[in-house]
């Protein structure tokens, strides 16, 4: 337990030291428990805003846990693919392990939720959530570096590649849709709808 606490401390503040240790000594099962426990805790904390009540809270927590597991797996799969495509060499199991432990950072939001609940300020939650996402993003880049032995720049590229591809596909779709709509609008100008 002491070793786990020290590992989590290092993960938060000295990630480059903690990651090789996690890869060697920690199991995937422990990583899974971190994902599930931290998701449950933070989702339930967030639900105390009072938007949902009664049975719905349990269902939302349940589906959030399922969603987290899906995102955890999907992120690992996508990043593993791009890491391998860019010449990196590593095991997806190690990637999953480290990405799972990163979920621990979400519990930092609990005191923030408490402050927000007491002060009735949603802004602080938004700011804190963004900061936590940025921190997790930075740690994810360190994870990619550690697992695939790549340089920092390459790790950043691999990290952002899925988003860039998604944005590219989205922009292309919008262009295609836009050209289609232009044709339709021409027809509408000739034959406007009648009331």
């Amino acid at each position: 337990m002491g070793s786990l606490l020290e590992t989590m401390y290092d993960l938060l503040l000295k990630p480059q030291k903690a990651m090789p240790e996690i890869m060697q000594t920690k199991s995937l099962k422990q990583s899974l428990l971190v994902v599930l426990f931290c998701t449950m805790l933070t989702t339930w904390g967030g639900l105390t805003t009072g938007l949902f009540s009664g049975t719905s809270q349990i269902i939302i927590v349940f589906f959030d846990m399922i969603g987290s597991l899906f995102i955890w797996g999907a992120a690992a799969a996508i990043w593993h693919l791009f890491a391998e495509l860019t010449g990196g060499c590593g095991q997806i199991k190690q990637l999953l392990k480290l990405l799972g432990f990163i979920y621990f950072i979400d519990v930092l939001l609990m005191p923030i939720y408490l402050v927000a609940a007491v002060t009735s300020s949603a802004g602080i939650v938004v700011v804190a959530t963004i900061l936590v996402w940025i921190w997790k993003g930075v740690l994810s880049i360190f994870v990619l570096k550690a697992v695939y032995g790549m340089s920092g720049a390459k790790a950043v590229l691999v990290f952002f590649l899925p988003f860039l591809i998604f944005v590219g596909i989205f922009l292309c779709s919008m262009l295609l849709a836009g050209s289609l709509m232009m044709t339709m609008f021409n027809e509408l100008m000739v034959n406007p709808p009648q009331i």
Binding site: L5, Y9, W44, M110, P111, V118
Partner: protein, 314 residues
């Protein structure tokens, strides 16, 4: 301080925060419940064709279908002591006679117990939907709402010639000569026509009585207006079929004023869909409409711009 101690303190803060959040949220709920005893207006939506149907609500299914659910919502609103009045938002072309009558009766019982009901008409509130409107204390319509269509009709199709063309012959063994009345494989006899006309007339007279009583109008005057034609909201106001011209929010404000609620009224919606049901279930109203309109013949189907009168299903 060692790493272990720092992490223990950190985890302690997280746990205390979590427990404090649960306490605060529980405390908030109890104060909200006290606040929620403040006067409210219930809003119940009546959408689509009015039919008697039983739907069981569950987390994975849409809970707002058929008059069974509508009546349950009315009862729930009537029993809620924080609800001072009910606004029924109606957007319907009508429906079945009995289903409409059942809802109308429940509305009358609620009004007799002292809780006012106000109707706010949407795009269409015709035929059976107008029957329900007539059972309300006050009716709001938009100037362009399509309403009226006070009347009853019973559709009948004769497919005999088509069957002959394609070589289908139907035979029946029946217990009585009128058992297969409205059968599509033979013409209607004059006697049967008279029988059905008598039924339609009886239902029509019932409709007229409801409108005359609800709108405090002379029965003969209602019969003059009840030849089945549709009216705009503006025309209906001029004829005394609706009380006010206004939209949904005007109806809410008017209802609040009626029951003495000052400022913006607190709304409680009944029969709201479970968000998960939108994710997991098909839209049962679309299926229902498909089934109902599949019985329409070609000539009645052409009357797509006019609201439907009340079809009688046998």
């Amino acid at each position: 301080m060692s790493k272990k101690k720092i992490m223990i303190i950190f985890i302690g803060i997280v746990c205390v925060s979590f427990l404090a959040l649960i306490f605060i949220s529980t405390h908030k709920k109890s104060t909200q419940n006290n606040f929620s005893s403040a006067d409210k207006i219930a809003v119940i939506h009546v959408d689509g064709v009015i039919t008697s149907s039983h739907t069981t609500s569950s987390i994975l299914s849409e809970g707002n279908g058929g008059t069974d659910q509508l009546i349950k919502d009315l009862h729930a609103a009537a029993e809620d002591t924080s609800v001072k009045a009910i606004v029924m938002r109606i957007n319907s072309p009508g429906g079945a006679v009995t289903a409409t009558e059942e809802v109308g009766e429940e509305m009358n019982k609620i009004r007799d117990n002292g809780k006012p009901i106000v109707v706010s008409m949407g795009d269409t509130a015709a035929s059976g939907a107008y029957w329900l409107s007539a059972c309300a204390d006050k009716v709001y319509a938009n100037p362009t709402t399509v309403t009226g269509s006070i009347g009853v009709y019973m559709p009948y199709s004769n497919w005999e010639e088509l069957y002959q063309k394609i070589g289908i012959r139907q035979d029946k063994i029946k217990s009585g000569i009128h058992k297969d009345i409205l059968s599509s494989d033979r013409p209607m006899t004059p006697e049967e026509h008279q029988m059905l006309q008598a039924i339609v007339d009886e239902l029509y007279n019932g409709f007229v009585d409801v409108v005359a009583k609800g709108r405090h109008m002379d029965r003969e005057r209602v019969k003059q207006l009840a030849d089945g034609r549709i009216y705009t909201g503006k025309q209906a106001k001029e004829l005394g079929l609706v009380d006010e011209l206004g939209n949904y929010y005007d109806a809410l404000d008017g209802t609040a004023a009626m029951v003495g609620i000052s400022g913006k009224p607190q709304i409680k919606e009944f029969g709201k869909d479970n968000p998960l049901s939108l994710l997991f279930s098909a839209n049962s109203k679309e299926n229902l409409l498909k089934e109902l309109f599949s019985g329409l013949t070609a000539d009645t189907a052409l009357k797509s711009i006019a609201p439907q009168a009340m079809p009688e299903k046998w």
